[in-house]
């Protein structure tokens, strides 16, 4: 039996001194950092409306895929997570494999967007973007790749406008919003969301960021920055870290009405798995989704627990359903080294046998 703590006083002093030295030296490196850029894969705007932009992403060569794929991101944070940096870009990897990729960039809602509803987002904006992609590519139906809340939107869309969707891919998408390990759902359950939206109007991004950070307060607010000290002397790693910080905190406010509807119907009443969601008078029945579905989720996801995503297999109507469990977290599924090796090839392989 050994004592569990074996700290040599000299080594301890050395460790503390090294930390302080790194910290002091790191200031100079921070001073000379420019604002980190995203990957900025070449793109062309093919449709604009209010705050949103539909981008057609451009690869080195012409796409070989016959059916274009529209990436639908969540309303929280920005779609640039999928094109974060040159060597960590889901978009680039898919383009390199011949996919034809479109991105829906929701933009930054302001006071004028306070009354936008889920109907406006799903049967309005998203539908018009799908039409724009269909027109641009000359096809009847597109592939949808929905991410997180964007995956939930894509499911709703496919259930209502099935004829326009050829294949459906969902990534880290909540379906059952009330699994026991869903902390966000638990916190939202007793909230008076009417009072919240009536008094806040649009929901400030900073407030949502605060909520997300309090899901793991020590890890996300202290331990992460303690780790930063170790890479202060590594310009490349530091740029990567700062780029991620930029993405995390560069987030849009939420349109008040859409937020109210989403929290009530999905988080508080779990209507999606009960088949009770109605958007713009149109019922959302997951059983009506008969297109091939690829459902990808992260095993260590603290925002969308794996079971919240796995539930899709029990409710979706298709007989061609594939599930892919990724060893990582909600963000790691896009930016980790493992993700680059595993996720885009899996998506491409799945699509190539169905396009």
């Amino acid at each position: 039996m050994f004592p569990p703590v074996r700290l040599d006083p000299a080594a301890l002093m050395g460790e503390v001194a090294a930390f302080q030295r790194k910290l002091a030296a790191g200031i100079d490196n921070l001073k000379h950092q420019s604002e980190p850029e995203y990957a900025n894969t070449p793109r062309e705007a093919v449709y604009r409306e209010d705050k949103l932009t539909l981008w057609h992403m451009k690869g080195q060569g012409k796409p070989t895929a016959k059916t274009p794929t529209l990436i639908v991101y969540a309303l929280v944070n920005t779609v640039w997570m999928t094109d974060l940096q040159e060597d960590r870009s889901l978009v680039r990897s898919l383009l390199e494999q011949g996919e034809d990729i479109y991105l829906l960039d929701w933009g930054y809602p302001d006071g004028a967007d306070r009354w936008l509803t889920l109907d406006d987002y799903i049967n309005g904006y998203l539908d018009r973007c799908v039409d724009a992609v269909r027109k641009a590519a000359g096809v009847d139906a597109v592939n949808l790749l929905g991410i997180c809340q964007g995956g939930t939107f894509s499911l709703c869309y496919a259930a209502i406008h099935g004829a326009k969707v050829k294949n459906l891919i969902t990534m880290v998408t909540p379906v059952d919003f009330q699994t026991p390990d869903n902390m966000l759902s638990s916190w939202a359950r007793d909230m008076n969301v009417d009072l919240f939206v009536d008094t806040m109007g649009n929901i400030p991004a900073e407030l949502l960021n605060w909520v997300y950070l309090t899901l793991k307060p020590i890890r996300l607010n202290q331990q992460k920055y303690v780790g930063l000290v170790d890479i202060l002397d590594n310009p490349r790693e530091l740029q990567n870290f700062l780029r991620m910080e930029r993405w995390i905190f560069d987030s849009p406010d939420q349109a008040g009405e859409a937020f109210r509807e989403f929290i009530k119907a999905f988080y508080q009443q779990n209507q999606l798995v009960k088949g009770e969601v109605v958007i713009g008078g149109k019922p959302v029945d997951l059983g009506l989704i008969t297109q091939p579905v690829l459902n990808i989720f992260a095993e260590q996801d603290h925002l969308v627990p794996p079971d919240a995503s796995r539930a899709l297999g029990r409710h979706v109507g298709t007989s061609d359903y594939t599930q892919l469990a990724f060893k990582g977290g909600h963000i790691g599924i896009y930016v980790s080294g493992r993700a680059q090796r595993e996720v885009p090839p899996a998506i491409h392989q799945w699509l190539s046998t169905r396009n």
């Binding site: 004592p3 700290l7 002091a24």
Partner: protein, 352 residues
């Protein structure tokens, strides 16, 4: 030996102080350069940002400094007491450090709303006390007294729930240390040892996060969290009512008027889109009618008449055969698709 250790500690403390001073200067420059013209109050904005940015690293730096003086490592067997002292030296508030680091204007709504509100309304609230709700309202200012009483009650209610929330967070803090001790006890049965302060810190973070997660997922936390948010909403609602009354007196547009206008514009846009959508089928119907007319016209030509004769001569069974084939086509994809329903883990796909 003791003098030597004391000198090293002094040197370290001097170096740490220099390091923090340098960071303080750096962050103050940053804060000054990014300060928003709308920040309130501008005189303290830099200090506030500085405090937030520094909280995480400062918390860890303080902990390291505490470790140096705690006696940890001086006796290989007696590590438990120094460890306890080290974590107690944080004031039992490591979670508070973490929360302080994310305080912001928006997060004020959860944690410091009442303080900023009080500061903003100091002149109007001279003599304002939380026990106002116990007084009967009367006289010319009766209505305003009632409003203030409601506001005071709402503020007190919010503070009560915020206090309960903080108590639960604090519980996670103490349970986190208990979990650290339990994890260290588990290590005692293995050959693995903690050989650096960073490793000890990481182990503590794991324990603290586990304790927090358990509490944060509890029914009690859900209730307290919801009530805190709701109490804050009621307080905000009363504040807004007072502000709106003031705006009306000054002839300024109010938030609810602007919202109302926004809602009407939005409804008009929806109506317009619905009309456009309703017109689209009419257009398609008109095109269909035109195609039908053209078909009828074509049917009158000699070539069309010959085609029609040939179609009549075809055997009757062919239609049935065609229907049968269609049924088979409908069934086949479903059967083959069922076989394709797969579950994949990692990059390897296994077929069921």
């Amino acid at each position: 030996m003791a003098d030597q250790a004391s000198d090293v500690l002094k040197d370290y403390q001097a170096m740490a102080q220099q390091s923090w001073d340098a960071w303080t200067r750096y962050l103050q420059q940053q804060a000054a350069s990014v300060a928003s013209p709308y920040s309130v109050p501008p005189a303290h904005a830099g200090e506030d940002l500085l405090a937030r940015s520094m909280a995480a690293l400062k918390g860890y730096g303080d902990w390291l400094q505490g470790a140096v003086g705690s006696g940890l490592g001086q006796s290989p067997t007696d590590w438990q007491q120094p460890l306890q002292q080290l974590f107690a030296s944080l004031g039992g508030q490591p979670f508070a450090h973490a929360f302080a680091a994310i305080d912001s204007e928006a997060a004020h709504s959860f944690t410091q709303l009442w303080q900023s509100w009080l500061q903003a309304n100091q002149s109007g609230l001279a003599g304002f006390k939380f026990d106002l709700e116990h007084l009967a309202a009367f006289g010319y200012t009766r209505e305003r007294q009632l409003q203030q009483q409601k506001l005071a009650a709402a503020m007190q209610e919010y503070l009560d729930w915020a206090g309960k929330y903080q108590a639960l967070v604090q519980r996670a803090n103490s349970e986190g240390f208990e979990r650290l001790q339990a994890r260290l006890a588990e290590l005692a049965d293995s050959t693995r040892q903690i050989e650096s302060l960073k490793a000890l810190y990481d182990l503590w973070v794991d324990g603290a996060e586990d304790a927090y997660a358990q509490i944060a997922l509890s029914e009690e936390f859900r209730h307290v969290y919801g009530e805190m948010v709701n109490a804050q909403g009621r307080l905000r609602q009363l504040q807004q009512q007072q502000l709106e009354a003031l705006c009306r007196e000054l002839g300024m547009p109010t938030r609810s008027e602007v919202s109302s206008l926004g809602k009407r514009v939005h409804e008009l846009r929806r109506e317009m889109r619905d009309r456009e959508a309703a017109q689209a089928p009419d257009e398609i119907a008109a095109l269909r009618a035109e195609v039908a007319l053209l078909k009828r016209q074509l049917a009158g030509t000699p070539a069309a008449a010959a085609k029609a004769t040939a179609k009549k001569a075809a055997p009757r069974s062919s239609k049935r055969e065609h229907e049968k084939e269609a049924v088979v086509r409908r069934v086949k994809p479903a059967a083959s698709a069922a076989a394709r329903k797969t579950l994949v883990r990692g990059a390897t796909r296994t077929r069921k």
